[in-house]
Symmetry: C2
Subunit: 143 residues, 2 copies
Amino acid sequence: MSKHQKEMALLKEHLGKHQLKYTRQRELILDAFLKQEHITAEELYHQLSRKDPHLGLATIYRTLNLFCEAGLAQARHFGTQTQYDNVSHKGHHDHLICTECGKIVEFENCDIERLQEEVAARNGFVIKTHRLELYGLCSRCQH
Amino acid sequence: MSKHQKEMALLKEHLGKHQLKYTRQRELILDAFLKQEHITAEELYHQLSRKDPHLGLATIYRTLNLFCEAGLAQARHFGTQTQYDNVSHKGHHDHLICTECGKIVEFENCDIERLQEEVAARNGFVIKTHRLELYGLCSRCQH
DNA sequence: AAGCTAATTGAAATGGGTTATCAATTTCAA
DNA sequence: TTGAAATTGATAACCCATTTCAATTAGCTT
């Protein structure tokens, strides 16, 4: 019995609505995907190639895109690769990044998040996730 | 005489510090780049190929990356392409992005910016720039 | 349970955006 | 002006992601 009942139900609902099929590969990929907060297709491929050496990389990509359409995942372009975020994972955090020494401080701010919701609502959007990065100099690098 | 004295001075300072040279192409690309708020390498290439048909696309990419290192530009991965933002442009704006249809709404919010400053100050940072992207569904894509 | 049809798969080819290569050219300090 | 080092343009190479296509599989229908 899977630990991801809710997500699997969501996926099956989406599959049913679009005449798509529930396959062994999709189950395998869903289980592995839900264990992480975010992952790339390549990483998932390497993780799963142990369990199923014949699983193709194209299938990983296709399935992750399917998850995005089903609302389980969200693609985010990061550097040269695409990160697939696990939407069900709460506890999102933002980053303060020092452009001099590379130091990274994670933070969370409810007030900012609330204002984001307001901006979105004003424009008719419903936010699923966001990305906030502040670039500057940390205390040590200000001289 | 160029209209972009300040930015050109910044670039020359960076070039001097790193034993790099001030070339006709870099001047040309800087002038064109500073006229916009953000642009892709391909767009800049097409704009400039009128003025200088021999200018190579590789030079555009190299120069835009140089601008990022000099602090004049900021790369932002957007869909499959990379947007290069003009950092000197005042009235920095953030983005609301529909993950379904790709629609992009630009916005500006002073309250959010103020809160960002507070978070930064609390952590001893001085912010130079930032990136805020809200991902979700636009009004039409919510069904 | 078997048959049928459409969806799915894996492997490999293809695609688009960006970076690396390299000989020729240009910058700039001496 | 000269020479060493950086830069350029053209093109090849690269990387990640998608498309193609014949073989397989899911899941309704009988």
